[in-house]
């Protein structure tokens, strides 16, 4: 939770630095209390239910979004054996949870009974399904190399070399797909403010909006830790030297996640938004065939290496 709150602070600072501004610097030292102030502001405001909206689903969808963003953490191993539930289909669990995330958005868009919100929700649904396909295929090619569905074992399989080395093109595609999956810039079409006002969360106010916001940032962190586990060797240090493994595993893990998150923000501050048809054609016509071909290459290489 605190991590999510400070991610918003971090985002504003980074974007500020990139755009040669200062970012938040008034509340507390270096503006460090800014996220808390924002949280208090959101909590004390009034929750508005639009007329003609479907009240139950309207209230349910932000809760769902936020709950799903937190649920995925149950299986993420932060260090060796430092995991809440070490289930043996861990990666499928995370994938299932992230595929449920679309419901929060689509239900929000439908129940607020507004054109802008509805259009945003439809865009987001199509976008998330499209990119889920390529994410799934990329995960399969990683699984072929690690021979396990368990997240801990996937990390341990990267003891000699991280999967970012043999699977480098897939790492790039995975990262771009996670950008699209979490509805971040340059794929943040569901909330394109210039054309859809604010997309699916246009009718939401106070903490219901806050939950959407927290859910989005939670998903960002979840997805970054997924790419850390799949490609960057989780909690493992880059080289198996004594002084590097002296640093505890979760520090490595957090460092990698933070670097990935920085790239998320960097991309947001630098790239313009994609056009919708380009987004779709990128997903279906470029990423899907590429990741399919990569599965075939991976499995044939593994077959001929006899491992």
């Amino acid at each position: 939770m605190v991590l999510i709150a400070y991610l918003t602070y971090f985002e504003r600072k980074v974007i500020g630095a990139i755009q040669l501004r200062k970012g938040p610097n008034v509340v507390g030292p270096f503006g460090l209390l800014q996220p808390l102030a924002d949280g208090i502001k959101l909590l004390t405001k009034e929750t508005i239910f639009p007329e003609n909206s479907n009240k139950f689903i309207f209230a349910l969808s932000p809760i769902l979004t936020f709950a799903l963003a937190l649920l995925g953490w149950a299986v993420i191993p932060v260090d060796f054996k430092l995991v809440l539930a070490d289930i043996n289909v861990g990666i499928m669990y995370v994938f299932a949870i992230s595929s449920l995330g679309v419901y929060g958005i689509i239900m929000a868009g439908w129940s607020s009974n507004s054109r802008y919100a509805f259009l945003g929700a439809l865009r987001s649904a199509a976008q998330m399904i499209s990119y889920e396909v390529s994410i799934g295929l990329i995960i399969i090619s990683v699984l072929l190399t690690s021979k396990s569905l368990n997240l801990t074992e996937i990390v341990m399989a990267q003891k000699d070399y991280w999967y970012v080395i043999p699977h480098f093109p897939m790492f790039i595609i995975f990262f771009i797909s996670t950008l699209a999956e979490t509805n971040r810039a340059p794929f943040d079409l569901p909330e394109a403010e210039s054309e859809l006002v604010a997309g699916y969360n246009v009718e939401y106010s106070s903490m219901t909006f806050g939950l959407f916001f927290l859910g989005e940032y939670g998903n960002m962190i979840l997805m970054s830790s997924m790419s850390t586990i799949l490609f960057l060797g989780g909690w493992l240090p880059p080289f198996d030297y004594e002084f590097l493994s002296f640093i505890p595993g979760f520090v490595w893990f957090l460092t990698k996640v933070c670097i990935l998150l920085f790239v998320f923000l960097w991309v947001r501050a630098t790239l313009p938004r994609y056009r919708y048809d380009q987004l779709m054609s990128l997903g279906w016509k470029l990423f899907l065939p590429l990741s399919l071909v990569w599965i075939i290459i991976t499995s044939s290489v593994l077959f001929y290496l006899g491992s």
Binding site: N88, A96, L100, Y103, A125, A126, I129
Partner: protein, 193 residues
């Protein structure tokens, strides 16, 4: 364990009844999703975690989203839907009879249709300490390989059919190919000043 099974199967029955009886089609789809979800939980109770996750990913994560998508976009009128009720009723009755007949045959005869020479026994694998993801894989790609491939081809065929039916050539619409936009030269563009 048994208690949880009854709880979740009760929820499944209630929510699948609500799928049929709720007046708002969007609510129906949401109840359908809830049903899928609870079915996955029942799978989990039987230690079939791979099946549970696949059910959620495929049905809840992909199929039901598209359902919801379509249902939300259609402007469904209640009275129009009730009109066709009598016309479709015999057909529905026939389908119900077929499904219940199949269920009855399976539960009565206790014989599942299996290939004649099964070389791997699934209960042996699971009892031997294999996790069930691995056993499903071994089973599916050996004894049931042909059936598995045929069902894959059926799905491919259905997909191609759907694309052929839905695809129409864009004649009257304006379309900018992103590739054409990328390879545009600065010299070819008319300059206004």
């Amino acid at each position: 364990m048994l208690f949880f099974f009854f709880v979740f199967s009760f929820i499944v029955i209630i929510s699948s009844l609500s799928v049929v009886f709720s007046s708002n089609p969007v609510h129906s789809v949401l109840f359908l999703i809830f049903t899928f979800f609870n079915t996955a939980v029942i799978f989990l109770l039987f230690n079939a975690e791979f099946l549970a996750m696949t059910l959620i990913i495929v049905y809840v994560g992909a199929v039901a989203v598209l359902f919801l998508f379509v249902v939300m976009m259609l402007n469904i009128n209640d009275s129009l839907m009730k009109e066709g009720f009598l016309k479709y009723f015999p057909f529905g009755l026939l389908l119900i009879c077929i499904f219940f007949g199949e269920l009855y045959m399976i539960f009565e005869s206790n014989v599942f249709i299996t290939p004649s020479d099964i070389r791997i026994s699934i209960s042996e694998l699971v009892d031997g300490g294999m996790d069930n993801t691995k056993s499903i894989g071994l089973f599916l790609y050996t004894d049931y390989f042909i059936v598995f491939q045929i069902s894959g081809f059926l799905l491919l065929l259905a997909m191609i059919g759907a694309i052929v039916l839905a695809h129409n050539e864009k004649i009257n619409t304006r379309y900018n190919s992103p590739i054409d936009q990328k390879i545009l030269n600065k010299k070819d563009v008319i300059k206004l000043n």
